[in-house]
Symmetry: C2
Subunit: 317 residues, 2 copies
Amino acid sequence: MKALSIDLGGTHATCAVIQDSQIVASEVVDTDSAHGLQSVLPFFATTLCKLAANSGIHLSEFSGVALSFCGMVNTKETRVTSTNQKYDDATSIDLNAWSQSAFGLKLRIENDARMALLGEWYAGGAQGFDNVVMFTLGTGIGGAAMIEGRLLRGKHHQAGCLGGHFPALYNGRKCTCGAIGCAEAEAAGWSLPFVVKETPGYESSLLAKEPSINFENVFRHAAAGDPVALAVRDRCIRIWSVNTVAAIHAFDPEVVVYGGGVMRSADIIVPAIQSYVSEHAWTPWGKVQVRAAKLGNNAGLLGAVPLLSEGHAVGVA
Amino acid sequence: MKALSIDLGGTHATCAVIQDSQIVASEVVDTDSAHGLQSVLPFFATTLCKLAANSGIHLSEFSGVALSFCGMVNTKETRVTSTNQKYDDATSIDLNAWSQSAFGLKLRIENDARMALLGEWYAGGAQGFDNVVMFTLGTGIGGAAMIEGRLLRGKHHQAGCLGGHFPALYNGRKCTCGAIGCAEAEAAGWSLPFVVKETPGYESSLLAKEPSINFENVFRHAAAGDPVALAVRDRCIRIWSVNTVAAIHAFDPEVVVYGGGVMRSADIIVPAIQSYVSEHAWTPWGKVQVRAAKLGNNAGLLGAVPLLSEGHAVGVA
């Protein structure tokens, strides 16, 4: 299958020409999510047409256009249903009409966490499994679930994709989502500085000398033996582990794949979560595998192929 | 539809003749779950045949036999997959062969929490909704989920039905399931005495004079103003509320139904959980309704009709 694919993040979008599991050509387009989506659509059109031409592929050869979006979407009706201060105009844009007009191709849209799962399922860390949970650890914690080869979507399109918003601490920190004690509010990029500064001994920690606190410096100082960094690192790993058990108990997967920028420390994180899950998840049928994602930033782009294939299936929402 | 229905609990089973949403006749059979299932099957056969005859219904008029089982089951293959010290011999019994031989009818089996959901969906608190989460609060916390009119089952038949085993406290009490800090380990019948006895002031509480601690006396003494009972009651309600948010974030329901013996205090519990959910669940589409179950112990029996109907549908697992 040949596909055009757009992976839309907060500050830039990657436009790509996909052929099966290969990215034939790609180019990054700067965006400004506060400024909206409508104004950058013409740049996506120009870029994708240029990439297709340079690849020697006529537009009529593509099966469609896939858009990975950083918000909640209704895939069946090809529209954005809810945004969170990123491209807030997207809910009122007819994206399929834009795609038909720009390329003569139909467009399908999916949430970015689900697109990453589709990509890893098709060509990455979840290949060979039809029951998958994926988490992305970054500024927030993204989640997605697939059961028996189908993405879990639900009535209001949010099933499975709030995996960072299972509670880890019933009386914990208020989350940006409105809930309390979510895994994301206790162990993600945005909440990490609060957690570090509340940890006893912070003032004398190496982390107190950092201009900003992030997972890179927490893992680096933990490796050097800084007690505050160690305590925070181990607490974060524990919260991710507990959250993984929650997702296993909810969705009954064979494999849980972890991606996102924090996975630069996958060599520490994956074995620790695997060990916790093997000991504590209630899975009398066997053991769930914990794996690192393989495709990095390409996962969302490569999700285009299964997303567009799904569009051809009968009865699939 | 006419159906024979068996709701199998730890100390007794209810055998019933069902016609649509009515229980035409029923009788309780004593069982001993430690003693196994095989030895009580003949009593179920005798009882159901007698009830059918007394109701003037010939066995050939029934669509089948439904069995609600207190353990994990494979509905597609009509077998018990995992037990927890109740009817441990059930995994090796060919229940469909037994039913064919005893009644000339096919049998379908489902987990008891899922059967209660089916019953409440068909004729109780979840009527009119196809996206449902159900919890039962008792000695443990049971859970089940329905998405777009289909029970969520998953690869290993455990999706959705471990709703009492989402974490509420990442560093909490060890649960009987093997995980840590599950809602069930913090706020269910079996864990309640541990929670009460660890609460500061317990020795001078009215609860210290009770021969055994249960939700009935916790709610009663809380209503009378006992500070320990109040603290424990409110902590339990908070944990159930947070757990409800977890299930909403996982399964995207329109309605969450609460059943089980603890719901004798539904007038306090349901409004408190509804208020928490309305404030804290991330549901940009609207508000999830929290409701009390309506059918009590009959829910599992009445689940027979949708379970056996499902067996006729094409492509339903």
